[in-house]
């Protein structure tokens, strides 16, 4: 089962300057079934990135369980692909080598892993950029490659940490539409972190509103797919759902 379950997850750390314990995440439980797209929204400091970092294994949890693919996990692993806000592409590798990196670590041979990488690049319309270095790409292209690199390693769960926060508004809308298209085509299990409410509503099947380290509410997003911004702009249901989530976030 390519699903993600977290039970009673918490994170407490000691702040040596304030000389006290700070609770960043408190008793968060969440279920992302196989093939589901779940978004976590909340204001900055609500603990959403901390949750993602614990799931990814970058930070140890203070309490609770993280279960991926029916197995309890701790520490980073290829079963949880991560897409970073900073794109985190290796500057010294070409786009093709970046995307082929996961398969390379699995021991896949050169020819086969380049084939895998080319397939995934084609999926995102990036075939023409295969031989270029990341610094030669626009911000939007870099993020696309970041998503493709994570997907090409075929993780059980894809963790996305505000991946589109640092690209311009027009590019962001294109990237969001592409992501929904890729999600529909491949149906990866995705946990998406963002502070952007319309983004969360546009992308996800379910939006989890987080406040002060706790789950405030979960909102089902029953919008039809495929979703496009042209259609959503005038969609009453989209407006109602966005307004509802926005209210929750602002109250948070």
């Amino acid at each position: 089962m390519k699903s993600l379950t977290i039970n009673h997850l918490s994170k407490t750390y000691f702040d040596p300057y304030a000389a006290k314990h700070v609770t960043a995440v408190q008793d968060v439980s969440l279920d992302v079934p196989e093939g589901e797209f779940v978004a976590i929204v909340g204001p900055s400091g609500c603990g959403k990135t901390t949750i993602l970092n614990m799931i990814a294994g970058f930070l140890p949890a203070s309490g609770g369980d993280i279960i991926v693919d029916s197995r309890k996990v701790s520490g980073p692993g290829p079963d949880r692909g991560v897409v970073f806000q900073s794109h985190a592409l290796f500057p010294w590798k070409t786009v093709l080598e970046n995307v082929a990196f996961g398969p390379k670590m699995r021991g896949v041979g050169l020819k086969e892993r380049e084939e895998i990488a080319r397939d995934y690049l084609a999926l995102a319309g990036l075939s023409h950029a295969a031989e270029r270095y990341p610094n030669e790409l626009s911000g939007g292209m870099q993020q696309r490659v970041g998503v493709v690199r994570a997907l090409a390693n075929e993780p059980a769960v894809l963790l996305m940490d505000e991946p589109f926060a640092s690209v311009d508004a027009q590019t962001r809308m294109t990237l969001q539409e592409e992501l929904t298209r890729i999600w529909q085509a491949r149906r990866p299990t995705i946990l998406f972190i963002t502070h952007d409410v319309p983004e969360a509503v546009f992308l996800a099947n379910r939006v989890v509103v987080l406040s002060k380290g706790r789950v405030l509410e979960e909102v089902e997003i029953d919008l039809p797919r495929p979703r496009s911004w042209d259609a959503m702009m005038d969609d009453e249901r989209f407006k109602t759902l966005s307004a509802r989530v926005l209210q929750l976030v602002r109250a948070a």
Binding site: A56, G57, F58, P76, G77, P78, R80, G81, V82, F84, S86, A88, L89, F90, P91, W92, F101, G102, M105, R106, Y133, P134, N135, E136, R149, A150, N153
Partner: protein, 274 residues
């Protein structure tokens, strides 16, 4: 509309020169020296100083041909270059390994960083009195000086490079399934490479100067020895020849080794300014 403006002949000449240099970069590195050499020749020909005291470019060139024909210059030059290459290679390998350790391991960093800064400040030449007592006038002393000189810039820059790799790149590699030793070869080494090359560039530059100084004091061969020996004989022309060779050799090292490596790595990857 635009062709109505007549182009100034000087501008036309300048534009022709730029196009020529673009096609043959060597010309661009030679031409700036021509006024310098001309000025030198003029001062010499004006007879302001006695010729033996201040020889001209032609005299230096004759000396170059003469010493090359006798085989002295090639032999000394080879001695100096081999010493530099061997010392630099040893200093570089030790420097990169130590730099990786200090850069990656917090405890090693705490323990060694202040010590490294301390010894870096003690200039290579400052070791000479002690080294002469320990090893005498010879190869050991010179090798120590070069290794020491190359080591510190490489260590310090490697540490800087390792520690400047964004945390997200480590995390990305881990999430893509890279085990620790693969992160070393796939992330840490290439990520630190532009800085390592900067360290090498500094190290070689300092090392080259340190070697010449060491050869002057403890050498029995080499370009530095040749220059100091020429002083004893009062041969200004050989001293000038030695100085020019030092400059030319560094120019060659830069153009043939360092610059191409930099173009193919950090500059290509957009990690350092062009």
């Amino acid at each position: 509309m635009s062709e109505a403006v007549a182009v100034n002949p000087a501008l036309r000449l300048w534009s022709g020169y730029l196009r020529l240099v673009a096609r043959h970069p060597v010309i661009g590195s030679v031409v700036p020296f021509l006024p310098l050499i001309a000025l030198w020749a003029i001062v010499v020909e004006a007879g302001v100083f006695p010729r033996a005291f201040f020889p001209g470019p032609v005299d230096v060139f004759h000396s170059f041909v003469d010493l090359t024909r006798k085989g002295i210059l090639p032999a000394y030059l080879a001695d100096s270059i081999v010493r530099l290459a061997v010392g630099a290679a040893a200093g570089m390998v030790a420097g990169i390994l130590l730099g990786l350790l200090v850069g990656l391991n917090e405890r090693a960093h705490r323990a060694l960083w202040p010590v490294l800064l301390f010894f870096q400040a003690i200039g290579d030449i400052a070791w000479l009195p002690l080294l002469i007592i320990w090893f005498g006038f010879g190869l050991e002393t010179m090798t120590f000086v070069i290794v020491y000189t190359v080591l510190f810039p490489v260590v310090l820059n490697t540490v800087l490079g390792v520690r400047s790799i964004p945390l997200d790149l480590h995390r990305a590699a881990q999430s893509l399934g890279a085990p620790r030793w693969r992160i070393l070869t796939e992330v840490v080494l290439p990520g630190a490479l532009p800085n390592i090359i900067t360290g090498l560039r500094n190290g070689l530059g300092y090392g080259w100067r340190a070697l010449i100084a060491a050869e002057m004091i403890v050498g029995t061969s080499g370009v530095g020895f040749m220059m100091f020996d020429a002083r004893r004989a009062g041969s200004v022309v050989e001293i000038l020849l030695g100085m020019i060779i030092l400059g030319l050799l560094w120019y060659a090292v830069d153009a043939l080794i360092l610059a191409p490596i930099e173009r193919a790595t950090g500059q290509r990857w957009g990690m350092v300014a062009r």
